[in-house]
Every structure is written in structure tokens, then in C-alpha cells.
Amino acid sequence: MQRPASHDGGAWWDLWFQVVVGLFRQIGALGRELRGSRGRYVVIAIPMLWLLAFFLAPLLVVLKISVAERTGGVPPYSDLVAIGEQGLVQINLSFKGYVTLLSDPLYVESYLNSLQFASISTLGCLLLGYPIAYGIARATPAWRMFLLVLVVLPFWTSSLLRTYALTGLLRDNGMVNQLLMAIGATDAPIRLIDTPFAVYVGITYNYLPFMVLPLVANLMRLDFTLLQAAADLGAKPWRAFLSVTLPLSLPGIIAGSLLVFIPAVGEYVIPALLGGPEALSIGSRIWEDFFNARNYPLAAAVALAMLVLIVVPMLLFEASQERRAEREAQRS
């Protein structure tokens, strides 16, 4: 097995190997255990196989392409494994993509920008979404359904079109500026579009339901007599909120924040439409490298690096889901 002299990927391969073997072992154990009850086997196997084939395998393929060379052919990257002279199996590994990632300031800035977009927007969603969720949770059942539908309704209409609507509003001659000038807050139109501010507004706007829904679910399970108890013990409403409601709604806040933050890191459309050509984001980097530069390995590398960035929050999210599921399993 010839390895490129430039880099000894020994440790890499070990890790790769472990992961693949571990994966197969899990699948094998699954098959063995379920052979006893065929019905359950089918129920578990169908979604498992689909997700393995169309969700997990693609990620592995991205990994594979990220270590390939960019070529001019179709597809525009080199093969991982090739048969050289005398039937020797040759493995081509190229880490050019990763090198670019780490050295080119463009990429580093894009990552930081994306993180900034995502975190500030998450905060915005929280500040805007919490009162809405609180109001919905405390409303009478009739109002609650109505308010909830009202929050989710914009979600049913195309988010692309709503982002497009924001571009119309935030332009120099858009309604926001017209309003500001009409009330005399400013003489000349303020630059709103093609700014980070527009991106924050855009992401907050699109992801608001993702913050509100988990918060509503959490707040509805809250026992509001706790607040009465706090008041009975002498706590003013604000104190009761800070020391009782807020801590108890923390799981909802975390779930909502993760649901907003993680996908927002990889957002492409919103920064592209609202942030202008200077708005750097990982999403646009991947898009450009893929569609414009046709540099598949680089795009793959950027995508994987983004995955690394968000894998910790993703595991956090998964852990919180499992904890909730454990509780529901125990109750039954």
C-alpha cells in the first residue's frame, strides 16, 4: 500500500478504521439481537437503513472527497483508490483543502462571521421569542391555539420569500427608512440592507418559530402555582420570574437556542440576500467553492470543518433529547 510521501496518514487511517469497524459492529449486533422478533426488526431496520444510506454515508463521502485532488475531469476530483502499475493499490490523499482552510484568512473570517451571525441571532430570537412563548403558555386554551398558529403560520409560507420581503423593507428606499424619515428620526436613509444588522434580522425572523415552539412546550409544563407560592412568600413579580420561571425554563431555552444556533451557523441564503457581497459566511464559502469555483474537495473540506464546529452543540442537543426521552420512557 503506497502512501503519498508528503503525509503519513497512519494515525488517520487507524481512526477511520475504528470508526468503520465500530459502525459495522453496531449494525451487526443490531441484526443479531433482532433476529428473534422479525416484526420489530423490520420497524427498526427501515429507518435505520435509510438514514445510514442517505444521511451517514453521504457524510463519509464528503470526508472522502475532502481528501481528494481537484482535477478537471468529471467528476472534478481524483479517485481515492487507484490501481497503479503492477497491480499495486494506490491511495491518493491530498490535504490541500484543509491547508487552505487553515491558512487563508478568508476562511477563518468566514467561520468567525458565521458564528457571530448565529450567536447574535440566537440571542435576538430568545429576546423576541420568550415573551411570545410565555404569553402563549399562560393564555387560555382557546387563545393559545390561535396564538400558536399565528406564530407558525409565517413558517408555512416560503421562508425564501419572506427573506426577500425583508430585502424590500430594509432597502434605502424601503418602508423602514421611509418610516424613520417620516417621523423625523433621520434625514437621510440609513444603510440597513447589506449589513450584518440585516443578517441578524433575517436569521431571527426566519428561525423565530424554532425558538418559540420548544419554549412553549417547556413553559406549558411549568407549574404556575410555584409563582403563586413565591408571591405568597414575598417575592415581587420580577424576582419570582428571575428565580423561579427562568431557571425552570432553562431546558426550553437551551433546546430552542440549539435549534436556532446550529443550523444558523451554516446559513447561506440569508447572508447572501441580506448581507451583501461582503458578508462572509461558511455557507456562502461552500456555495461559491462548489458552484462557482467547482472546487469540490475544497467545498467538502469547508463543509466538514463546519461540521466539526457544530458537532459539540449537536451532541449537546442529542443528549438533551435523550434525557427527555428517558423521562418519557420511565413514565410509561
Binding site: I65, I132, G135, Y205, I262, A303, L307, A329
Partner: protein, 269 residues
């Protein structure tokens, strides 16, 4: 509670809802604008609707999007419900952790990741097996199913958690085999969740632009992809008209669904 709190709360809520609906209102309003502008109102006109309905590309794209959405959501509901059943009712089994992770990861994964990985898979498969031949309806649909499955699973799992687990045990105890239990007992109780999951998946598929961009090929432009390309060149009230039509359709759909659910007394568990 003091009188102060509700007032503050209501103000914040009104502000939040206004924020949500202002852009939509402006889109709808300017679709009737006489001029090309989407910021300055000049007069009432239906010209943009006319132009929209003559635009064959838009109509084709819309039909394609609807077709893909219907297929993807149906498939996603089947797969997602199976996953929800397994995770919710099967207790501990080997591979449960893996299934749980796989069925909740796409929920938070950025679109570009799902899109680019799906495309790379299809390219590799084409190299290895000859299928899929180029990108088209089938690849977009498959990618959308993968996106939507996790949403369906969340919705159905939540409903399953609310139904009494012992109902299914009682059915088995009385002699019904597991498949019969599902169709006779479980399904009648969770069908609203399946419907909700289907609608959710339908919306996601219809709305998706990033994944479709990656996994579509020549001649298979979905509506959002078409809109994106138009929008990048500049705003035009035709898009506003399209948006208004979609909004109206959604409002009708939601009202209908609401009315139907109201009529069906939901069975208590």
C-alpha cells in the same frame, strides 16, 4: 400577579407578532403595486398576477415542487413513524443510540451540509453503480425525505409519549399481534400527529432552496430555486404576486385543517 406584568408582556408580544407579519404584509401589499417598485406605492394594479400566470417556467417549477413535496412527505411520514415507534415503544435495544442520533441529527444540521453531502453521495453512486443518472426528481426527493424524516419523528414521538403505553400492551394481552395492534389501536390514536408531520414535511420540502440547488439537475428546477435565481438579479413584483398566492393558499389550507380538526372531537387518552 401584579397589573404591571401583563401590560409589559402584551407589548412585547404585540411587537413580536408585528415583526413576524410586517414583511408578509408588505409583500402582499406591493404585489398590487402599479409600478415595478416594491418600496414605493404608486397605485393598484393586477398586472403582475397576469404576468405571473403567463410565465411557463414558474408554473412548471411550481408543479414540480408540489410533486416532489407530495412524494417526499409521504415517504418521510412512513419512515419517520417507524422510527418514532421504535424509539418510543421498543425500550432498550441494540442500536437504539445510533437510531436516535441519526434521526435527530438532520434536525439541526445546516442545509448546505445536507445538500452537499447528498449530492456527493449521488455522484459517487453514479460512478459505482450507474444510478442515479444525473440529478433530477428522484435525487431531490430522496434528499428531501432525509431532511423531513427527523421532523416527522419528533412530532410522532411527542404524540406517542402522550398516549397511554398500556393501551398497546392491553391489545396484545387480548390476543392481537403487533401489526394488528398498530393498525387497530395505535394508528387511530396518533393519526393527527401523522397528518401534522405530513404537512410539516410538505412545507419543508416546498420551501427548501439549498438542498434542491445541490441535488437538482438541468430541467428540474424547483420553485424556490427559480425564485432564488430571479431574486438575486433584483426584486420584481412578480415574485410578490407569487408570494401572495402562496400565502393565500396556505391560509386557506390552515383554516380548512383547523376547521376539520375542530369537527373531529379528538379522542381523549
Amino acid at each position: 400577579m401584579s397589573e404591571r406584568r401583563p401590560f409589559l408582556l402584551y407589548t412585547l408580544m404585540v411587537f413580536g407578532y408585528a415583526f413576524l407579519y410586517l414583511p408578509i404584509a408588505s409583500v402582499v401589499a406591493f404585489s398590487f403595486n402599479e409600478t415595478r417598485s416594491v418600496s414605493l406605492w404608486k397605485g393598484f394594479s393586477l398586472q403582475w398576477y397576469g404576468r405571473l400566470l403567463e410565465n411557463q417556467a414558474v408554473i412548471d417549477a411550481a408543479l414540480l415542487s408540489l410533486l416532489i413535496a407530495a412524494m417526499a412527505s409521504t415517504l418521510a411520514v412512513v419512515i419517520g413513524t417507524l422510527a418514532a415507534l421504535a424509539l418510543s415503544r421498543f425500550g432498550r435495544f441494540k442500536g437504539r443510540g445510533l437510531l436516535s442520533l441519526l434521526s435527530s441529527a438532520p434536525l439541526v444540521m445546516p442545509d448546505v451540509m445536507l445538500g452537499i453531502s447528498a449530492l456527493f453521495l449521488f455522484i459517487t453512486l453514479q460512478q459505482l453503480m450507474g444510478w442515479p443518472q444525473g440529478r433530477g426528481i428522484d435525487t431531490i426527493t430522496i434528499a428531501h425525505v432525509t431532511l423531513c424524516v427527523c421532523y416527522v419523528t419528533v412530532v410522532v414521538r411527542s404524540r406517542l409519549a402522550q398516549t397511554d403505553h398500556s393501551l398497546e400492551e392491553a391489545a396484545m394481552d387480548l390476543g392481537a399481534r403487533p401489526w394488528k395492534v398498530f393498525f387497530l389501536v395505535t394508528l387511530p390514536l396518533i393519526w393527527p400527529a401523522l397528518l401534522a408531520g405530513w404537512l410539516l414535511a410538505f412545507t419543508l420540502s416546498l420551501d427548501d432552496v439549498v438542498i434542491a440547488s445541490f441535488t437538482s439537475g438541468p430541467g428540474s428546477s424547483t420553485l424556490p430555486v427559480l425564485i432564488l435565481s430571479k431574486v438575486r438579479f433584483g426584486v420584481t413584483p412578480e415574485i410578490n404576486a407569487l408570494a401572495t398566492l402562496i400565502i393565500v393558499a396556505v391560509c386557506i389550507g390552515v383554516s380548512l385543517a383547523g376547521w376539520l380538526m375542530h369537527r373531529n372531537a379528538r379522542p381523549t387518552t
